[in-house]
């Protein structure tokens, strides 16, 4: 980053927000990823050493939200919706069009939701924001999430696990397993010492 918090060569002519910590040896493609970012915490987003965050990734982080991307994580265009905490550990790989959401942002009850929607229409900027409790997401070391997958509030994905493309993860994923489908189900375990044949 430049001293005025710009990303060199960025097509999006805005600085990275002051309370976003990017390691000197991390790569963030564009500050556009922070267009929806509004965390008021000291480090609302933290991006670790050797991590890379590519175009299409959006940190839609609410006022009390906190996202951490560990060392050597690869975030290749995910929609990160966070009002509490999304903790991504080291070596995690996240593919394109993945949705990580620790909150639905609106109540399930339609009468209450209608009120939230009406309130959003008079906001500046307009946002449907923080009307329900958020439940943190934890993605542990070296997990891999395939493209177009969704990870829902409260989910923990265990170390080394794989989430297949287009899966919707509604429950915790055991470490060293592969889950696929909508809703996601375990299809096999990854054996210790397993190598590519």
């Amino acid at each position: 980053m430049t001293p005025d918090r710009r990303i060199p060569g960025d097509w999006f002519d805005q600085p990275v927000p002051g309370n976003v910590e990017i390691h000197d040896e991390a790569y963030v493609e564009t500050a556009f990823s922070f267009l929806l970012y509004r965390s008021q915490l000291a480090a609302g987003v933290r991006i670790g050493r050797g991590a890379s965050v590519y175009l299409g990734t959006m940190f839609d982080v609410g006022r009390q939200g906190r996202v951490s991307c560990g060392a050597f994580t690869l975030v290749n265009g995910a929609r990160i919706v966070c009002d509490a905490e999304i903790l991504i550990e080291d070596y995690v790989l996240i593919s394109w069009n993945v949705v990580l959401m620790d909150t639905y942002r609106v109540p399930a009850d339609p009468a209450l939701r209608r009120r939230a929607v009406i309130a959003a229409a008079s906001g500046e900027p307009r946002r449907v924001d923080g009307h329900v409790e958020a439940r943190p997401i934890h993605i542990k070391r070296a997990a891999w999430i395939g493209f177009d997958a969704c990870v829902l509030p409260g989910v923990t994905i265990g170390e080394g696990a794989i989430v297949g493309a287009r899966s919707v993860v509604t429950e915790d994923v055991e470490p060293f397993t592969i889950v696929v489908g909508n809703p996601a189900r375990m299809v096999r375990r990854i054996e210790p010492g397993e190598t590519t044949p």
Binding site: V106, P110, V117, R126, C150, T170
Partner: protein
């Protein structure tokens, strides 16, 4: 105030097609909003008041009609219509969800071969075969999560809650919570 109508809604990134009607305080954003808008009908797209259409693609074919009520909030939704999408009020639709009222191409392989030729650069003079299309109806107060899809002919009942990633191929009763691929009713919203 008497004799004064509120200002119509706006599109932040260009001049609206003449057959698009936006209600008061409705905001449409995104340079791609009308890139695939081909409908020629009168009032082909009408959106009520106080709506937020952030990054929505209005991909309407020549005969398509799309109506959206008041206080709707859509984020990067893809609306693909060759017939009719009828969407009520207070409807929220999440990022990267697709709604379509058509199959785009025929089911029968022989017809599909003809369609492939008709759609090709050599297709002049080859009419396209008939293609299934059935209106999609989404009633008031429906919430649809991100990465979902609503396919042709589906009616989503008032107040229903469509979980992220759900693929809807059949009607959803009012106040139902649905999830999965294919989507199933997994509960109610209350």
């Amino acid at each position: 105030m008497e004799g004064r109508t509120p200002a119509a809604g706006t599109w932040s990134d260009g001049t609206l097609p003449a057959n698009v009607v936006l209600g008061a305080r409705t905001l449409v954003t995104g340079a791609g909003a009308f890139r695939r808008f081909m409908s020629t009908g009168d009032r082909a797209l009408s959106i009520g008041s106080d709506c937020t259409m952030d990054g929505v693609q209005f991909a309407l074919g020549a005969e398509a009609r799309v109506s959206i009520g008041d206080y709707c909030y859509f984020t990067n939704v893809v609306l693909l219509s060759e017939l009719e999408l009828r969407i009520g009020s207070y409807v929220v639709i999440g990022w990267n969800t697709t709604i379509t009222d058509t199959d785009f191409h025929p089911i029968a392989p022989a017809e599909r071969v003809r369609d492939a030729v008709a759609c090709s650069p050599l297709g002049k003079g080859h009419p396209r075969p008939p293609i299934a299309r059935r209106a999609v109806i989404i009633e008031d107060d429906v919430w649809i999560g991100p990465n979902a899809a609503i396919m042709k002919g589906v009616r989503v009942g008032a107040g229903a809650f469509i979980e992220p990633g759900a693929i809807l191929t059949a009607d959803v009763p009012p106040l139902a919570r649905v999830a999965g691929n294919p989507a199933r009713v997994v509960g109610t919203v209350r």
